[in-house]
């Protein structure tokens, strides 16, 4: 009996190990709205359920989403709606340093006011990439070009326009930067499509050029992609030659917001629970600057959007936290337990106790869902051929319960210790906590390097290695001094304060960072 349980347990560990290994540290997913100036609802972020239940079914590689695009080919903007299907035949390989993969984008849309007008497009894009992995950075550079035939047929006003695939060009290049908690990316696209009007050979030719930068980010709590495109339509060869030009700004965002679901006063074991609502939204602005004189002003500027049905999930309800009633940090601690960021026995989580460094690091790793490697059990460790990681910190042996988290933090350059020791039980100071914040967001460049002085009144107490990151956090609006302008860097953080801090970070990642990106579109 005992042997059997041993076996099961070790198999379970193995499963978790393997499962954990394949957990989705997905390399950046740009292009969920295509690169043609249209918008889709966008992919959803993984929910807690997706992360907990490892589904055995093969993950389908193709996604179909609601999609809208404005077609400018005829000189008048026509809004068309339909679907965008993305089939990914591969992705960036975790282990290899370079490679290629393909994706097929299929667009089928029509003008809802006049269903005879439609657009169909199918393009297979091949992306080549290489990785640059250093201890101080990880980046992936990608280049995408169409491969195979790119077909496109547009029907407007009784006329059919067919894409000339041999003449048409499409090119895109993107760089992805991986910081410990967030993946950022930016790049640009450039395309020129040639259409012939009608089915006869010669005749009117339309040229549609599109160009502009892309930027975005993806993390556990929200993601955004924005494209700032400029387009030009030229008509040549017909009786009238004309041009039209303007700007297009498609963007797609997904964010997870937290709502509280309060139960009425009932003899119910739960007082209330938190739920996470996933909101997807795609929005597109367009502004035609050079145009057919017949365009009315309402047609020159416009916007469309693709909302999506919001899904939600109820999070676990924290129990045994009733002793927090009336405490400053009651709501913060409850939220963190709900989001499974804190999972120790609530009896040991006294909010006025000092927050140990190991626990803080662990909470942050769980917040950003940074992948950890489970420690091998005795059974599996028999395969000794695998390279043994050296013990980085003398006071964090493999048997330490927080070992996987501290190692994950070390590997993603979140923490360094002092070379030999990490001091896991020592309480974390405020300056250390803020520094780790900024590192997890990868936004150190917002501080000066080196920062001779920060705006805080007690600047001289801030350690020199912490100044730059504290200045960056100040510029981000994450931290402010207290009413006297002091930041009190050396004070220890209590567990309650740490919970509040982490919540603040999560809120920033859910809402504020998204608003900063979107404010560009104004």
């Amino acid at each position: 009996m005992r042997q059997k349980t041993c076996k099961i347990v070790s198999l379970a560990f193995l499963w978790i190990f393997i499962g954990g290994y394949f957990s989705p540290f997905v390399y950046g997913k740009e292009g969920e709205m295509g690169y043609f100036g249209g918008i889709s609802e966008g992919y959803r972020l993984p929910q807690t359920m997706d992360q907990q239940v490892v589904s055995k079914s093969k993950k389908s590689k193709s996604t179909t989403m609601n999609y809208k695009e404005i077609v400018f080919l005829t000189g008048t903007p026509i809004e068309m709606e339909g679907t965008l299907k993305i089939e990914s035949k591969g992705q960036v390989d975790e282990d290899k340093d370079n490679g290629t993969y393909q994706e097929v984008y299929t667009v089928e849309i029509q003008n809802l006011k006049n269903p005879e007008e439609s657009l169909e497009r199918k393009i297979t894009l091949e992306t080549r990439y290489y990785k640059k992995k250093q201890p101080y950075m990880t980046q992936v550079i990608k280049e995408t070009t169409p491969i195979k035939k790119w077909t496109e047929t547009v029907k407007i006003g009784g006329e059919t326009y067919i894409l000339n695939a041999d003449k048409s060009e499409f090119h895109q290049s993107i760089i992805e930067d991986y910081t410990p908690g967030v993946q950022y990316y930016t790049g640009a696209i450039s395309s020129k499509s040639y259409y012939t009007k009608g089915t006869e050979g010669a005749g009117e030719e339309l040229i549609y050029s599109l160009e502009g930068p892309i930027y975005g980010y993806e993390q556990q709590w929200s993601k955004t992609e924005i494209q700032e495109l400029q387009f030009v339509v030229e008509s040549t060869g017909g009786e009238k030659t004309w041009q039209m030009a303007g700007t297009l700004q498609p963007s797609v965002t997904t964010k997870k917001t937290l709502q509280y679901h309060q139960l009425p006063n009932l003899p119910h074991s739960l007082e209330g629970t938190y739920k996470e609502v996933m909101e997807n939204h795609g929005g597109l602005f367009y502004n035609i600057t050079t145009y057919h004189p017949e365009l009315t002003s309402k047609q020159k500027i416009g916007s469309v959007s693709v909302p999506s049905f919001n899904i939600f999930e109820i999070l676990q309800a924290p129990k045994n936290l009733s002793f927090l009633k009336g405490h400053f940090a009651e709501s913060d601690v409850k939220k963190l337990y709900s989001m499974n960021i804190l999972d120790e026995n609530p009896a040991y989580f006294q909010p006025n106790q000092a927050m140990p460094r190991a626990q803080y690091v662990k909470a942050l790793i769980r917040t950003m869902n940074i992948p950890i490697e489970e420690v091998e059990t005795k059974r599996t460790s028999r395969r000794k051929n695998k390279e043994e990681d050296p013990l980085i910190f003398a006071d964090v042996p493999k048997t330490h319960p927080d070992y996987p988290y501290i190692m994950a933090a070390y590997k993603s350059q979140l923490i360094q210790g002092d070379g030999a020791y990490f001091y896991p039980e020592r309480p974390i100071s405020r300056e250390e906590a803020f520094v780790v914040f900024v590192r997890i967001l990868g936004l150190e460049r917002l501080g000066l390097d080196p920062t001779p002085q920060t705006p805080f009144v007690d600047d001289r107490y801030i350690a020199s290695w912490a100044k730059r990151d504290l200045y960056a956090a100040y510029n981000l609006g994450l931290i402010k001094g207290n009413t006297e302008g002091k930041i009190m860097p050396k004070n220890w953080l209590s567990k309650g304060e740490a919970a509040a801090l982490i919540n603040r970070l999560i809120d920033y990642l859910r809402y504020d960072i998204l608003e900063d990106y979107r404010s560009l579109q104004y």
């Binding site: 009315t296 309402k298 959007s305 919001n310 070379g419 001779p452 020199s464 979107r518 104004y522």
Partner: protein
């Protein structure tokens, strides 16, 4: 004579002893506790000292200490003040060292005395006698000793010294870790294993022991020193540790010589007291004899006289004779800084690192444990260079570059990357203050530095904030074709907070020759509360940021202000506008930040209130983030229109939506709980948010509604209380009032006199909605008609006479006038827009003498329209728009003869109006399209038909439509 001497000496001693008690010892009992042991220097001490001060072993040589130690113990010797440390040791030499170490020197010398020409014969014989070598082996003794041989001899030597020593186990495990362990000769395996176990010898790398390789004389000294206690115990040498507590001098007269003594009282580690005695006797002939011992202190080899109170020491004593042999002063704080080029890290697994200095001398040091890590199996290792730095792998280490080592007791405790030689004196920092001829900045260490400059000599480069790239680069003097350099600047372009690099005058480091600066820019986003104008185009803006902070920012006159990418004036910034401000941030002092505004961008589209609705709340969909209204209506010019039984509006901006219960701000939870089935009206302002209409503000009211229509504010007190003409009591706008000013939500303070607004009341004098807009008019544009005289294609045209439209009348001027045209000028006729190329004054298509309606802005012709001369006019209010057909009501016709207006028809006061391709519509000072007309617009229509006869309600063709209200 002698007596006198004696008495004087005795007096001296007496005096000395009088002095003694007044000196305070750090160890207060040092003189009181009993002395346990007394050790005297040896008579050979001084000669030993000079013999081991080798000329070819510098102070900084890594093996300086072991060579000194073993030299002091007389195990190793050099020749002629040279030791030749880097030479590979021969078997003969190695044996000699080891035999000395075994204490068999005397025998060796004795035997050797029989062979005066062969200095080593004695040793060799002893070696054979003790079994270290076989007679057969003696012929090879000139060859270099191999490492495994040395290992074997060392072990044999130790075992000889004390046969009862148990030297480790015989497991031969330690050899296993080396890949070349199998190459060790089988008879030497055990010995090699023991020396590895005991730390006497190490492999050449983590995988190679190199048993057949050679060993240098310095390494040999180290090996012997590594034997440590194994050797000391065997040779009856006592090793002790202690601290020198007191030093006393004594002079004594002996029978025929003067004896000077220096006595050192040492507090041992165990707490007892030992005494060292240095003696110096001077015989009457003047010959001095000393009893001295080798003292190794600060890397130097000297005698006992160099010992001082406070020295922490390790000392070796001959157990038999109680003679002091060697004192090693452990200097706690001897930090030394050395620099050199980092050599390949192939000894890292041994914890050693080498550098080569400027004279190509190689130095190897041990690394402190925390600074490196080597994985035994893979051989991969990491090393930490620089405090607070992340460990880097061996492959990444800056081999070949200059590094600086901080040594303590010859152990590397810190390393710093220096890199290549520094050529110029550069300082970097952040600007705090700029004066006429000085600049103060905070350098990278936080210190405040002030340097001077000559205004007309200093070279300044700073890229303006809008320049993305430095085109010319670092060296500007070299390229003689001086291209335009946007970075070339004056000292005045430097601002507080700029990050600068300063190059100093090498002849006078107080003066700056060159400065390069880079601004530190940040974008802030917030809503304008109030705008104050101070001087020409400059002033202060009160701004509220998204997080609620308010600030007053100073806007200087040279700031670029734009909206929708068009430059606007400072006075065009309105309260309620959302602006992005680019600032250069400078931290003068902790807690005191100065920001200079560089650019302001006013949001074009953002936070623009699209619609205002009223209705009743029937429900809230929390997951889909929607408010459900019933009986919803939208506010238009004519009042509440567009009735919808239910309407869903989005509240996804849940974070920033403002909810008001009457005039109190509340949360969504409050609304959900208490106001979900509210009986009264709810007023909602929506804005466009990325293609969707989302709620920005919601107010619940309890009173009865009353619409005041369009009013002009005649009095406002700045707190939201104001007066209009048609309503006598003061009206009160509160925080819950939806106030839309030029399309944006503002606070009650922004209601001002002469504002023209549509006002909805709810309750007695409580304002629910006030929509402030521009007073309608057509200023700016002029409507003219002219007869063409001449045309200059694409440039201008001249009319021989023209008429201007004022109100409904044309005023005629028989004078010529020129209007300019450009590519933006649009030409219309009854077919619609025509190409400007048709507007020419030659060929049969000439337009000379034709009369056109011209819309101008000053002398610039914007539109040239070919349509009939219109003299008749009507005015009315649009109540229906369908494509190009308008329906007007309350229509009045202008009677030109009488110059007055009269109703078109008593019973049916409507008239249908059609818009043609060459109809011109003007609203708010610009030409618009028909789709910008709204229901409720009051228009003047000019047409050709005489309307007083229009009894049948024929559609009227409008040629000119002016929107008046």
């Amino acid at each position: 004579m002698k007596r006198k001497n004696i008495s004087s000496i005795i007096i001296m001693i007496f005096c000395l002893q009088l002095f003694v008690p007044s000196i305070v010892w750090a160890d207060p009992r040092i003189l009181l506790d009993p002395v346990q042991n007394r050790y005297t220097g040896s008579e050979q001490g001084t000669t030993t000292i000079s013999s081991i001060q080798f000329r070819d072993v510098s102070e900084r040589h890594w093996a300086n200490e072991p060579i000194t130690r073993m030299g002091a113990l007389q195990v190793i010797k050099g020749y002629n003040r040279r030791f030749e440390p880097s030479r590979s040791i021969t078997q003969e030499e190695a044996l000699v060292f080891i035999i000395r170490g075994m204490g068999l020197e005397r025998e060796a010398i004795e035997i050797g005395s029989r062979y005066p020409d062969l200095w080593s014969e004695g040793y060799i014989q002893v070696a054979m006698q003790t079994g270290l070598i076989t007679p057969a082996q003696r012929d090879n003794l000139q060859n270099f000793a191999s490492r495994e041989q040395v290992a074997q001899w060392v072990v044999s030597g130790i075992e000889f010294l004390n046969p009862t020593f148990v030297l480790g186990n015989n497991s031969l495990q330690s050899i296993q870790q080396y890949a070349d362990g199998s190459q060790i000769s089988s008879d030497k395996r055990r010995a090699v294993d023991i020396v590895i176990q005991k730390g006497i010898m190490q492999g050449k790398s983590s995988r190679r022991f190199d048993p057949k390789g050679t060993i240098t004389r310095a390494e040999m000294a180290q090996v012997l020193a590594n034997m440590g206690d194994l050797y000391y115990q065997g040779a009856n040498i006592i090793r002790k540790y202690g601290k020198v507590g007191a030093v006393q001098d004594q002079m004594m007269a002996e029978s025929n010589s003067d004896l000077g003594m220096r006595i050192f009282r040492v507090r041992t580690k165990e707490g007892t007291i030992d005494e060292f005695i240095y003696e110096r006797t001077k015989s009457p002939t003047g010959v001095a004899k000393e009893k001295n011992a080798v003292v190794y202190k600060n890397r130097q080899i000297n005698g006992l006289l160099h010992l001082q109170e406070g020295d922490e020491i390790e000392y070796l004593v001959d157990g038999e004779t109680q003679t002091l042999l060697y004192v090693y002063v452990m200097d706690q704080d001897s930090t030394q800084i050395v620099e050199g080029i980092l050599q390949p890290l192939d000894q890292l697994h041994q914890g050693k690192l080498s550098i080569r200095d400027s004279s190509s001398q190689l130095y190897t040091y041990s690394l402190a444990q925390g600074l490196y890590h080597v994985n035994e199996q893979t051989g991969k290792g990491t090393i930490i260079i620089g405090k607070d730095e992340h460990p880097i792998s061996i492959e990444e280490a800056p081999v070949g570059s200059k590094i600086q080592l901080t040594l303590q007791n010859n152990v590397i405790v810190d390393m710093k990357y220096i890199g290549h030689p520094i050529l110029v004196t550069e300082l970097r920092g952040v600007v705090k203050e700029i004066g006429l001829n000085y600049i103060t900045f905070t350098d990278n260490n936080g210190n405040e530095v002030t340097k001077n400059f000559y205004r007309n000599e200093i070279q300044v480069t700073k890229l303006p904030y809008y320049e993305a790239e430095d085109q010319i680069g670092y060296i500007r003097e070299i390229f003689p074709d001086f291209r335009y350099d946007p970075a070339q600047s004056q000292i005045d372009s430097l601002e507080l907070g700029d990050v600068i690099t300063v190059q100093l005058d090498p002849y006078n480091l107080q003066y700056i020759k060159k400065i390069h600066a880079s601004g530190h820019y940040m974008m802030k986003y917030g809503k304008v509360n109030n705008v104050l104008l101070q001087k020409e185009g400059e002033g202060q803006i009160y701004i509220t940021y998204e997080n609620g902070d308010t600030e007053r920012i100073q806007v200087p006159s040279n700031v670029w202000i734009s909206k929708n990418k068009q430059k606007i004036a400072y006075t065009d910034i309105l309260p309620g506008d959302w602006i992005k401000v680019l600032v250069n941030q400078g931290i003068i002092e902790p807690g005191y930040v100065v920001e200079t505004v560089k650019e302001i961008t006013v949001d074009g589209k953002g936070h623009h209130i699209e619609n205002i609705y009223r209705g009743q709340l029937t429900g809230i969909f929390t997951h889909q983030n929607q408010f459900l209204l019933q009986n919803a209506q939208r506010l238009t010019k004519r009042g509440w229109e567009d009735y919808q039984q239910t309407k869903a509006l989005d509240i996804s901006k849940a974070q920033q939506v403002e909810y008001y219960d009457d005039d109190r701000r509340v949360s969504l939870d409050y609304v959900n709980r208490f106001l979900n089935q509210h009986n009264g009206e709810v007023y909602i302002a929506t804005e466009e948010y990325y293609g969707e209409e989302r709620i920005a503000k919601v107010t619940f009211r309890y009173g009865r509604e009353q619409s005041l229509g369009d009013q002009t504010v005649i009095y406002a007190d700045g707190t939201g209380s104001f007066k209009v003409l048609s309503h006598s009591p003061n009206l009160q706008a509160d925080k819950g009032t939806i106030i839309r000013r030029h399309g944006r939500l503002v606070d009650p303070e922004n209601i001002m006199v002469t504002d023209y607004a549509q006002i909805i009341l709810n309750g007695e004098n409580q304002v629910a909605v006030i929509d402030i807009k521009e007073e309608p008019g057509i200023e700016g544009l002029q409507v003219l008609r002219g007869r063409i005289a001449k045309i200059k294609d694409g440039q201008s045209f001249q009319v021989q006479s023209f008429a201007t439209l004022q109100g409904m009348k044309w005023s005629y001027y028989p004078i010529e006038r020129v209007f300019s045209t450009d590519y933006k000028t649009l030409f219309y006729d009854e077919t619609g827009q025509v190409d400007s190329k048709t507007f020419i004054d030659y060929t049969d298509k000439s337009k000379i003498d034709k009369v056109y309606t011209i819309i101008t802005h000053g002398d610039q012709a914007l539109y040239v329209i070919d349509h009939p001369y219109v003299q008749e006019g009507i005015q009315g209010e649009i109540y229906e728009i369908e494509n190009r057909n308008l329906s007007l009501k309350e229509v009045q016709v202008y009677d030109r003869a009488k110059g007055s207006w009269s109703l078109i028809n008593q019973k049916n006061r409507t008239a249908p109006v059609t818009i043609e391709n060459n109809t011109i519509l003007i609203k708010n000072g610009r030409v618009i399209h028909s789709d910008e007309l709204e229901k409720g617009d009051k228009v003047h229509v000019m047409t050709t038909t005489k309307l007083t006869n229009n009894q049948n309600n024929q559609p009227i063709t409008a040629y000119i439509i002016l929107v008046e209200g």
